[in-house]
């Protein structure tokens, strides 16, 4: 039918009741005599019906009663900002001065104990200047802190290589 393409463009709005009165009357009139457009319309309603049934079936046994408990529990829990504020307040304005003093003293002691460890001078490098030995000796001073001392056995008939 010549009006089918125009009706097809209006069908969704028809289903959604978003057409003007004139448009609605036009679509209704066309549908009476057009099986193809009727089928299109039935499909749109069927999709809606199937969707509603599918969601309703899944939602039917939803434990809605538990939703409020969950919400209330979360509302009681402090938010991240509140937690930061609490820590800031606790640290800056301690409620118990004695406890704060004790913590302060502990921190000072800890600082004093660890300070020498942190500022201790590095171990001086050992320099081998001479080795007393009957054997020939070779000293190798590495680039790092390693010094290697070789002792060679004397070869018969010789006083030693080096």
């Amino acid at each position: 039918m010549p009006d089918c393409s125009r009706v097809a463009s209006l069908l969704e709005k028809y289903v959604d009741e978003a057409l003007s009165q004139d448009e609605t009357a036009f679509v209704k009139g066309h549908l009476k005599g057009c099986r193809r457009c009727q089928k299109e319309l039935e499909e749109l309603f069927a999709i809606r019906e199937h969707l509603r049934e599918a969601v309703a079936a899944e939602v039917a046994d939803c434990p809605l009663a538990g939703i409020w408990e969950g919400v209330a529990e979360r509302l009681e829990a402090p938010t991240a900002m509140k937690r930061i504020w609490w820590w800031g307040k606790t640290l800056v304005f301690p409620v118990r001065p004695i406890k704060a003093l004790a913590w302060g003293a502990a921190l000072v002691v800890l600082f004093l104990v660890t300070l020498p460890l942190l500022t201790a001078p590095p171990t001086p490098r050992v320099v081998v200047e001479s080795v007393e030995s009957e054997h020939p000796v070779m000293i190798f001073q590495g680039e790092g802190e390693t010094t290697i001392v070789w002792l060679f056995e004397k070869e018969e008939g010789k006083e030693g290589k080096r």
Partner: protein, 179 residues
């Protein structure tokens, strides 16, 4: 008690009034979110999150728009965020059953159809899915959907059309004879 009065009480900090305020929306929000994420635990978790967020930001609600539009906007934004996180963490599995074997039994057929709807919804772009659910499940008008989604009427109609087209193709075997 009127909704407006309940809102004002909640804005003054009366937590109990919030329970009455959210009561009519629990099932609606849960249904919407279930349709969006198709997983009971996630939908429940998100529903609670919607109400917690609503409570914490209700002081900024100025009654200029309707409460449900405002609430739905929170819900759809959370659902879209959730979807984005899921895309970023694909190892988190969805509660999607494998295709059923079908059969003459109507409950089996119904189950199979629900699974097919489930899969089709999951494949739709989230914005299209949200529009489809707002229209078909919640019965919102185009204008209301546009407000909730923060888009134009034309966009709503276009998304709805493509979502319906996707459903129509996926459900074709079940739509024969207009059933």
């Amino acid at each position: 008690m009127e909704e407006r009065e309940l809102i004002e009480r909640v804005q003054r900090g009366e937590k109990d009034a919030f329970r009455d305020l959210m009561a009519p929306y629990q099932r609606k929000i849960y249904s919407l979110l279930y349709g969006m994420v198709w997983n009971r635990e996630d939908a429940l978790e998100l529903t609670q999150e919607v109400f917690v967020k609503a409570y914490r930001s209700i002081k900024g609600f100025r009654m200029a728009s309707s409460f449900y539009t405002w609430l739905y906007r929170i819900a759809v934004n959370l659902a879209l965020d959730f979807r984005r996180q899921r895309v970023a963490n694909p190892e988190i599995q969805k509660e999607v059953d494998p295709p059923g074997s079908g059969g003459p039994d109507s409950s089996l057929l119904r189950k199979e159809l629900n699974e097919q709807i489930n899969r089709t919804l999951a494949q739709l772009p989230p914005q299209q899915r949200a529009v489809l659910l707002f229209r078909e499940i919640e019965g919102l008008t185009y204008k209301e959907i546009a407000k909730v989604m923060g888009c134009r009427l034309g966009t709503v109609m276009s998304r709805l059309h493509y979502a319906r087209e996707g459903m129509r193709q996926a459900l074709a075997p079940y739509l024969k004879g207009g059933d």
